[in-house]
């Protein structure tokens, strides 16, 4: 996974609440291998005339600023692949689907949660100055919008570390191998019904 430290790039605003993962990656693309590249599938059925993602004014956007409950619904990680393969490294919203946010972190896509009013103001600025860049500084936990005002955001320290280091979870987990083995032994005695058919 590509590490995420800082990013300065154009941001595109999407004034839509509840953008679900079925919209982000329509179901008919779920059977495509990742090697196919998922970028062209991103929000495929929403690409009607005037859709901000197709507006040349926002060309090269790597940050998406949207509305509440982004990525709700299906657990399909392909929704994240579509954003990442479509060039995005960061999504800003008032709230996210929990599973989407977890999937995003595993693929180097930073999700930033900010208050509803703050995100709405950010979208307004981006609509007024299309193509304006924002700067994300993950170590400092700030997002600087077109008005130059740095906005502080919170992030889980573990998620932050994994993003900055580009860490593979499994390697990290295997450092706890002894604890896992010990847990399994104790558990087998405490809950002998755990394994089906025993």
């Amino acid at each position: 996974m590509d590490p995420f430290v800082t990013l300065t790039a154009p941001a595109v605003p999407l004034d839509i609440a509840n953008i679900d993962t079925d919209q982000l990656l329509p179901a008919r693309f779920l059977k495509k291998p990742r090697s196919a590249g998922y970028g062209n599938f991103l929000l495929r059925d929403e690409r009607k005339p005037g859709f901000p993602l197709d507006d040349p004014a926002y060309a090269g956007a790597r940050v998406l600023v949207t509305d509440r409950n982004f990525g709700c619904g299906s657990s399909r990680e392909g929704a994240v692949y579509a954003l990442v393969d479509g060039g995005f490294r960061c999504v800003v919203a008032p709230s996210f689907g929990d599973i989407f946010a977890a999937n995003a972190a595993k693929n180097g896509l930073l999700t930033i949660t900010l208050p509803e009013e703050t995100v709405a103001e950010l979208r307004r600025q981006l609509q007024e100055t299309p193509g304006a860049a924002v700067t994300v500084d993950l170590p400092a936990q700030t997002l600087t919008g077109p008005d130059g005002r740095p906005l502080a955001f919170a992030i889980d320290p573990f998620k932050k570390e994994c993003l900055i280091e580009g860490l593979d979870d499994v390697a990290l987990t295997l450092r706890h191998q002894d604890a896992i083995d010990a847990f399994d032994r104790a558990d087998a005695a405490a809950r002998p019904w755990l394994v089906p058919g025993t």
Binding site: D15, R28, D67, S74, V80, G97, H176, D184
Partner: protein
């Protein structure tokens, strides 16, 4: 938090902690891992890293998302869809996993099959690469959906890194009215707290209306926890739970079952357990519900009307409402019972169990559907029992199709799609734009309500039809 003030969630979580990092991240042991055809990304990841499956005996593969609803005598015609089903079989075979394939007598939707086979038990941690894994919380398990990378992590380590979620108790007291079901109850909850109302939380459903639900009803409620944004939904196990489990194929037997029940009885929340949030609903106030928009949070009583964005003070919200109404082809102020439908779908992990099919058949018995429709049972055992009770004949006599078990028209990837522009009365869980097919319009409702809509060709309050009870409980 002391050991005497713990919730059901706290007890299950604490019992599965393998390690905790100073930053609060917890390494959680996973007791059951269910896989479906979408798991090919995750198998690719562990194969690429040359990692074996750590606990094959706790890992189960189920073909459900891509399996055909029509005859299974012939091979699947679409090579890409056939490939999804055979890839799962190959991956399961290579790693020595129990595989419930297309022709298995237990095959079904994973969230119907696992409880039915006794794989889902109280107090377990259960994950699956499917957001509706929350279903299994009906047994007092901590069950939640994960993405492909996390699936690969569980395959390799039988653990998962998680941050302890917050807790929310949703208490529903009182009695549900006639023809008001578990589906109406959960739609009312989502309408009340919103599609992200429980984000970051695990919900515990409590109260007399929840206790009175059958296991089928509890599964429906927990299934849609994710539509309120919840990480998981849980219901305390009780005698209803234990009698459902006893005797099922993979459930513990004899003395082991007794020991398990003894342990399971310790799981319900302590009387003084604290929750981060509390929400209460009056069961008697819940009406048969339908959704009008493209989010489950647009659930309203069927007796109401299409809302007016003009009455919304926030211009962004009003714009979003207009967008939903435009997609749904609805005019503000229209009475919902005046909205005509083009087809019905009765099925999915939300509503394809025996109780659901009985409720739909009770409405359809002796009647004709005026629109086409498809009824897809949740599993082969459900299908067989429904046929033994003659329910399949009730559906086919009414003019509806009777399908083979799977996810079918809920997720629209096995070829069953609602045609563009058509309006579907659906017992599923999501009315998202394009969910049942590009430009398909979905109204969520209970099986009885979908059956009523099939009979009248409009959204219909099932209570206005004379519904004769079937001679079954």
């Amino acid at each position: 938090m002391t050991s005497h003030h713990r919730s059901l969630f706290d007890k299950v979580w604490d019992a599965h902690l393998v390690a905790t990092r100073p930053d609060g991240q917890a390494l959680l042991a996973i007791d059951r891992h269910f896989l479906h055809e979408g798991s090919f990304h995750a198998f690719g990841m562990i194969d690429h890293a040359k990692r074996p499956v750590r606990r094959p005996e706790l890992t189960f593969a189920v073909a459900d998302h891509y399996v055909p609803s029509h005859s299974r005598a012939k091979p699947i015609a679409d090579p890409e869809i056939a490939n999804m089903v055979t890839m799962l079989e190959a991956n399961a075979g290579r790693h020595g996993l129990r595989h419930f394939g297309l022709h298995d007598p237990a095959q079904g939707i994973v969230h119907v099959l696992a409880p039915e086979q006794g794989l889902t038990l109280p107090g377990l941690t259960i994950v699956c690469g499917d957001s509706h894994t929350s279903t299994h919380g009906a047994f007092g398990a901590l069950a939640f959906g994960i993405g492909a990378t996390e699936v690969s992590h569980v395959l390799a380590t039988q653990t998962l890194w998680q941050r302890r979620p917050r807790t929310m108790r949703v208490t529903v007291d009182g009695e549900l009215g006639a023809h008001v079901t578990a589906k109406d109850l959960i739609l009312a909850v989502i309408g009340f707290i919103g599609a992200d109302g429980a984000a970051g939380h695990v919900i515990e459903y409590a109260g007399s209306a929840i206790r009175a639900l059958s296991m089928e009803g509890r599964l429906t409620v927990c299934n849609m926890s994710i539509e309120a944004g919840a990480r998981a939904g849980m219901i305390a196990p009780d005698d209803t739970t234990f009698s459902w489990i006893e005797g099922r194929t993979y459930a513990p037997k004899g003395e082991l079952f007794d020991r398990a029940v003894e342990h399971w009885r310790t799981l319900p929340s302590d009387p003084d357990a604290a929750f981060d949030r509390e929400v209460s609903l009056d069961a008697a106030a819940i009406a048969p519900s339908v959704t009008w928009g493209t989010s489950p949070e647009t659930a309203v009583p069927v007796t109401g009307a299409v809302p007016d964005p003009g009455a919304e003070s926030d211009p962004v919200r009003a714009g979003q409402m207009r967008k939903m109404l435009d997609y749904m082809g609805l005019t503000p102020g229209t009475r919902l019972e005046e909205v005509g439908i083009d087809r019905v779908f009765i099925g999915s992990c939300t509503n394809a169990r025996l109780e659901d099919l009985r409720a739909a058949a009770a409405v359809l018995r002796g009647r004709r559907a005026v629109v086409p429709g498809l009824v897809v049972p949740g599993s082969v055992p459900v299908r067989r029992q429904a046929e033994a009770e003659g329910l399949d004949r009730v559906f086919t006599d009414a003019g509806l199709e009777w399908g083979e078990p799977g996810c079918s028209m809920c997720v629209g990837i096995n070829g069953d799609l609602v045609p563009a522009g058509e309006r579907c009365a659906s017992t599923t869980n999501r009315n998202f734009p394009g969910r049942q097919g590009p430009n398909a319009r979905t109204h969520l409702m209970s099986p009885a309500m979908a059956a009523a809509a099939a009979v009248t060709g409009k959204l219909t309050d099932v209570r206005t039809l004379d519904v004769r009870k079937l001679g079954v409980s």
